[in-house]
Symmetry: D3
Subunit: 242 residues, 6 copies
């Protein structure tokens, strides 16, 4: 099978989801020399505090801060559902960009767009690896591309949701947290960056709490559907209480 | 049955446990005019940073800050187990002080002393309401006191533990959090108050995160064994995401 | 933001769902002076034992017994799914009636109509509070109304489902249970009221069991997605076993 | 290995526990021609409403009503803990009576005696099947008896506990429920049989609710530690909602 | 109500699902003299290793090996979703064939077709028992058939999924496992039968593991939504560790 | 703090527990150049098939095959409980050997000795890091040694238990599985190595199943109490279904 083109892909409903959920992890991977790309299913319009079109520009600047490419798909904010069409559109991007790792928002979110992301991402990863779409009525969107099988699919926590008592792993993002916050500060269309924003406060509070529990300053948390498989169980970072 | 003597009792393994786990709630209840008492099973010796005897003095000052009475039982730090003797000692205090509500540390803690608290508290609450201890061999410690039945038993979260994804309720402690922090700052025998202490940082991070999730600045979280029963389900505070 | 127009709203798939799941709670809130409204997504036709049109009349009489208003939406029994259209129709009612508390059927029900209610209700509550629907293609149904943010969203138990081992709270409905039963007895189109009905027997058995566990005669149980936040944890009713 | 001597054994902390938790199931098995025996770890003294010695006589009459033998072990009510001594005493009875099925109270009970039963029963079943106790210091109590391996160990629900959302199976006890109630009515030392007793009401409410959920009048519910293995999955009784 | 026409029905997304998930159980029921039928929602095209049309022939031969009839519905592989149309098509088969027990794939599968099966099967079982479809707009597909109420609905484990820590029951299929493997070996369109196939290896590894845990050679595992109700709890097979 | 003396320690109730639960992982770590030590709490006497003293010799040979040191503590098989004395004895070994990672048997085991291991290991790890045992009455066993804080504490699965649906991670042990099996084959005192042993068959079936689920031949599975913290989430091995 051909080589991967990017190391990781983050599939999100809206511009800013990737940053909120795993901005620190994204910068961390980029600093390790990996190539990453963000896929936003919609442009996030209408936004609360800016004119139409601003949010996409802010998202572009945020991606530059994080050091990743950003791709916009043409679906409608507030109305994202797990349809064959959206699955196929995401699967096309997976086949085109060939990521080793895919991230997408974990299920059961307050926002129905978020809620749709986990089934969309799982189906898209599955569709991307299947062959013979040319022989499937309705499969045209994938008929002319090569199958691609991703290594792992992980789901960061949606911070509007109740906290997770159980998750697969936390990533220490203490050193890259400043860049995450700078990227989030671009989104003046949706956050009251200067006055203090209750959502930004919540996001920071979660990352700080997860960090302290992990014995570091900031951490982002992830779930997985398939079990984690490791080569060396002594390679995890020390736990704050073993 | 006779009247209660105190409104609430907090039964903890060590001095500082009550403050860490629910100091803001304690002040809140005191400000509502309730009388509270803290029961510490041991004096918390040896402590890391002070001479023997200092921690108990610090605990006394902390109790004054919170506005509650503090009672010390003579068990040994690091070696608290769910024994008949400890159950009886706590049940005696429950019968003597007649609290309506009892709080004690929730199970499954990193520290084995903490782990013992939930079974001790549950058994003590149960022992306290049983009659006829004069007819039980080994029941002398409760033979000469009147039964007392508490209304509710709740368990605050032990902050050394992984966060809870599910809990019974959170208490908004934004307005009383300053006093909680002042009470904790008394414990120079166990926290590096001036230099910054990774445990104090963790405790504050949890309360801030739980607060933000509840739409307020700080919150403390609790579990219950029996279901919550309410008279009016519209009397809960607004949820940040309904 | 403007004042609420009703205190609570119950959104259900069928006429009789609100009564079965939380009829006692409804009367209780009404007796506290609150204004409530029931939203039924369909007319419940066809019914088993009566001519078309009877069930809606029975529902109207039941609402009068409970002391609430009842509104009928034009969807089809047996075919209720979580669609954008239904979300919008419910969100319109939320914006129009401005309830502080919304109740809807909890997920995972035997009946597929019931199963759709939790995602519909969550999305409708979320849609209702979003602004700028005039700038959303397909958002016309909400384009001309003001946003409304509800305080809390709770989910009563669907009694066709296995019992819940864990729930957020129970409401003591001992004193209003007679009216709940009178309201249910109106539904001769679906229950064999006079001969004894195995569904009515099941419903009463659950309420009686939940009541006994809560130390009262009858109780109705509820779940919540966001954590409960309270001002005073000593204000819960006494537990039967603390 | 030699034949079993009894078909089933119920190991309980107190006289009346077996009746409350699974009295209907006991009668059902007896009516199928099985031989059963109840093991009570203590005599249940002191009781609330009768003179010392009465509860044991009541227990004996209850056993006769159920159609089983009853054996009293010499441990102390309120102080039953998971000790080597109690494990051995129960294991001795298992070896002597050779039951195919053992029942004991499920874990996590309000009463600390109940809480100890599941670990005691599991250890006793395990001890009973081990050989060579003559070579174990402290193993004298089992040194002179033959090993016995039980087929299954099941745990009925303790009705003081919150209801189970998940359990292994329910037994339809509609036809034998009258005898269960007659057996319970013997225990005038602990229940206010004539005036109405809130505990008896709770017990009946649980059995009625579990029965209605199972499509019958009364049912008792059980958990298992090891998975259920069946020869024919179509042999379960019909479910009320499939 | 009229008699059943078949004893059991297995409703699956693809040819081979029934065999993989419960082939040993199917043969076991057939050997007890029961009549079974498999419903495949699609023909499983395109397949990886054979020409179009081969998989259906292989499925037919596999059904003959298992001893059951096989019926093909006209839906599209990879695109099976929980729609009213599919629910109705399955409900039609249930009404026509009148099975006492229905089996279908348990929820939460890697493959989105599998994920849709549990809601489809639950809704179809529910639709099948409802009357008066002639009075439901869109209900024509069920308007001319008699209602049928199945006794039980069970869900075998989808072996692409993480293993279940909790399930309702295991069926000992040691004696019929050879036929299951013969049936699976027919599917050369999807498995590399001769070279060794990592999926076939996984399937066998699960059945062997579940068997060993149940004290036998091979077992297949199932979940249920409604609780299991039994007449005799001593009729389960012995557990390997009680 | 001084350097570690060993890289990892496995604390088990009996000789053979470490091999059964994580023998493949042990060899894997040794092959990476790590130094490991096994702590057995007892000598495993009496054994079923050999004279007293043989099992310890077999354990010694097994340790040599695995490439680790083995230390025997003087507690009694079948009677291991979570006592202060055992906690201290294990904590002494932790302080003496200074392991970075400690492994011990996960809770909730069929065998009561196994059940005690998780609380013993957690308390021992906690005791080992506490200072000032010279000032604790009863703390003499730790009074003259230096504190040691382990990095992580992990719990392999006890294979007598029901399988875990959820665990922290699996270790691919395909390449070292032969040595695990050779080490287990030394234990002729407890396994019928030549005739085929139902326990050895069960152990192999679990490892093979967990391996196939992880996309490899054999895997061993582990739980953790504190969350996993990683530096690079893309460093996990590929999942078989992403």
């Amino acid at each position: 099978m051909a080589d991967s083109h990017v190391d990781f892909m983050v599939v999100s409903a809206h511009p800013d989801d990737a940053e909120v959920q795993m901005g620190g992890t994204i910068v961390k991977l980029v600093r390790k020399g990996m190539r990453g790309v963000l896929i936003d299913l919609c442009d996030g319009e209408p936004s609360d505090f800016d004119a139409p079109g601003e949010r996409v520009k802010q998202a572009q600047r945020a991606a530059e801060i994080l050091g990743v490419e950003r791709i916009l798909l043409p679906f409608q904010d507030r109305m994202i559902q797990d349809t064959i069409e959206i699955r196929m559109a995401v699967a096309r991007e997976i086949r085109r960009l060939r990521p080793r790792t895919v991230f997408s928002t974990a299920a059961a979110c307050v926002h129905p767009d978020h809620e749709a992301m986990e089934p969309i991402a799982r189906a898209a990863v599955f569709y991307a690896r299947l062959k013979h779409w040319d022989r499937v009525p309705g499969g045209e969107a994938l008929a002319d591309s090569e199958p691609w099988e991703v290594d792992r699919l992980f789901f960061p926590h949606c911070k509007l949701e109740p906290v997770w008592g159980d998750f697969a792993f936390a990533v220490d993002v203490s050193e890259t947290y400043g860049l995450k916050q700078r990227a989030l500060a671009e989104y003046r269309s949706i956050f009251k960056v200067d006055e203090g924003d209750r959502l930004l406060d919540l996001y920071e509070a979660e990352d700080a709490h997860m960090g302290r529990l992990a014995g570091v300053r900031y951490a982002e948390i992830f779930r997985a559907h398939s079990p984690l498989v490791v080569d060396d169980p002594t390679s995890f970072l020390p736990g704050v209480h073993a």
